[in-house]
């Protein structure tokens, strides 16, 4: 690296490997890559709490899970970041917005507010145990929270807002809650993400519709990408992005309606569906 200013072609450059180069040139940008990404906060486990699957079920589903989270936090064994989904209110927002003809970016701009509501709900239950709602991009504050025994709660949807790229099919934003949680965990350099839903894990088709739906217990990302399930409990953007990701090794999907499973998953037990990547 150097700190030299270079002139002579009408522009002023700072000397670096990328100086003067086109950042579209493959041979130039390939040179920026390596086999790994630096892990920024590797010890945190990111836990996603489903909107439709948990919050929309109300008290009966939320309270036992909140109790389990409080106990886990009290045990101080696992630094955790909790991300909440929005659920049926997100779906309703999208239904009305699209009927009105609003663009994909408009839908993306609107939905986060519905997740904020669930963050406030969960924080109302866990504040006495040390939780706090954290603006999602304040994760440089995480060391402070972890060291002072605070449990941060964030919303899940990524901040693509009006700039959500046009959809490949239809009009819905491709970058939704599950993807946002995955990406936050990936950039933090964590190894393990847990999605808490209302089914025992990932199935080859929707278990709510088909009695013969088969549960995947252990599966690799490669196998999953080669044989995608008919219906997805987790946004497909997660698996597409995980393919190029470097940090996350394990994504686990568990049933949040069954008390104790989250505790087991955090202890490293293979409960629910365990998806791994080499």
């Amino acid at each position: 690296m150097s700190n030299k200013l270079v002139t002579g072609d009408g522009r002023t450059h700072i000397q670096s490997k990328l100086m003067r180069e086109s950042l579209q040139d493959r041979s130039v940008i390939n040179d920026t890559d390596s086999i790994k990404d630096r892990r920024i906060l590797p010890d945190i486990t990111v836990i996603s709490i489903g909107g439709q699957s948990i919050f929309d079920r109300g008290k009966a589903a939320i309270l036992p899970l909140a109790d389990e989270l409080a106990a886990l936090h009290k045990s101080k064994k696992h630094p955790m970041l909790i991300a909440v989904g929005g659920g049926t209110r997100v779906r309703h927002t999208a239904a009305v917005a699209l009927d009105l003809g609003l663009p994909t970016g408009g839908v993306a701009q609107l939905v986060g507010a519905m997740e904020e509501l669930n963050a406030v709900i969960l924080n109302s239950l866990l504040a006495q145990h040390g939780s706090i709602t954290m603006p999602r991009d304040h994760f440089w504050d995480l060391p402070l929270y972890m060291n002072s025994g605070i449990l941060p709660i964030v919303i899940s949807v990524p901040p693509y807002h009006f700039w959500e790229p046009p959809a490949e099919v239809g009009q819905m934003p491709a970058h939704r809650s599950d993807f946002g949680v995955y990406q936050q965990a990936e950039v933090l350099g964590t190894t393990h993400v847990i999605y808490v839903k209302d089914e025992d894990g990932l199935y080859d088709k929707d278990p709510k519709e088909f009695d013969d739906a088969k549960l995947y217990e252990k599966i690799t990302l490669e196998e999953l990408l080669a044989n995608p399930p008919e219906t997805n409990m987790i946004d497909w953007a997660v698996f597409k992005s995980w393919k190029t990701g470097k940090n996350i090794k394990k994504i686990q999907i568990i049933n949040g309606l069954k008390p104790g499973l989250l505790t087991k998953a955090l202890a490293g037990e293979d409960v629910g569906t365990v998806i791994t990547k080499d």
Partner: protein
């Protein structure tokens, strides 16, 4: 206003995972007359006064002629420098995207200082909904070209550089606003059959389809790759216009909606 229907006749179209049926979707263009333009970082800002002032003069003149304009700025050499430092440290793409957002922000602020007396106003993502006010007041809104993905920017295969940078951000602004074109002001006339700096026989390409450009599978490209991909599935933006800001009159033509430079179009 038509008479209100009874409640049972009404109700939004049925929604699925991907949205509503194409036949039920009647998109609303938010601000279709806006000329969304990118000012190149390396190609214009890093050249300083000689390159930038004439371009700004043409933009201000067009704005005074009541053409609504939104400017997005590129990064340039300082962005390249920080990408280079961060890559060496093996920081993730999401961190690079965050780092890369600061330089275009500086450039936007420089342009604002220069155009303030003509209504130049620096805006942030959250000010986007105030665009109608800025246009009505005769202002020239200027923002970073970088989209707000930041830490949530996905990793590309074989590269640490964020794939969505200022070309993409400007494109996505235009797409959200419902514009037909996104305009990129650079230091070249657009596309050539070969690199004109190396091959004097290279000829200029005035129009080319996105598909044709993808099929050429060029190792280098004048615009971020994701933009070409988005163009093939966007609802509103059907053309990218790349004009040479170093040639007097080209920017004015582009702002007037005339063909100049190279147009990359969606089929």
């Amino acid at each position: 206003m038509s008479e209100r229907k009874s409640l049972n006749d009404l109700g939004p179209a049925k929604i699925t995972e991907s949205g509503i049926a194409p036949g039920d979707y009647n998109p609303v263009a938010i601000m279709p007359d806006m000329r969304v333009c990118k000012l190149g970082g390396q190609s214009l800002l890093d050249r300083g006064r000689k390159a930038l002032f004439p371009v700004l003069d043409e933009i201000i003149a067009a704005r005074k002629a009541d053409i609504p304009i939104l400017l997005g700025t590129g990064g340039g050499t300082r962005a390249r420098h920080i990408y280079s430092v961060a890559s060496e440290l093996e920081l993730p793409t999401g961190v690079l995207a965050k780092l890369g957002s600061y330089v275009p922000m500086q450039n936007a602020r420089m342009v604002q200082m220069l155009t303030a007396k003509h209504g130049g106003i620096y805006i942030m993502d959250d000010d986007f909904e105030k665009l109608p006010l800025y246009v009505k007041m005769g202002c020239l809104p200027i923002m970073t070209g970088m989209p707000p993905f930041g830490y949530w920017e996905k990793r590309d295969e074989n590269s640490r550089i964020p794939p969505n940078r200022t070309d993409a951000g400007v494109f996505l602004s235009a797409e959200f606003l419902g514009c037909k074109r996104a305009i990129y002001i650079k230091d070249e006339d657009g596309l050539f059959t070969d690199d004109p700096k190396k091959n004097p026989k290279a000829t200029h390409i005035p129009r080319i389809s996105a598909q044709e450009l993808i099929e050429r599978d060029l190792n280098d490209l004048i615009i971020e790759r994701v933009v070409i991909e988005y163009l093939s599935r966007s609802k509103w933006v059907k053309e990218l216009q790349i004009v040479n800001g170093l040639k007097p009159g080209e920017v004015t033509k582009a702002l007037n909606g005339e063909d100049a430079g190279t147009i990359i179009y969606a089929e």
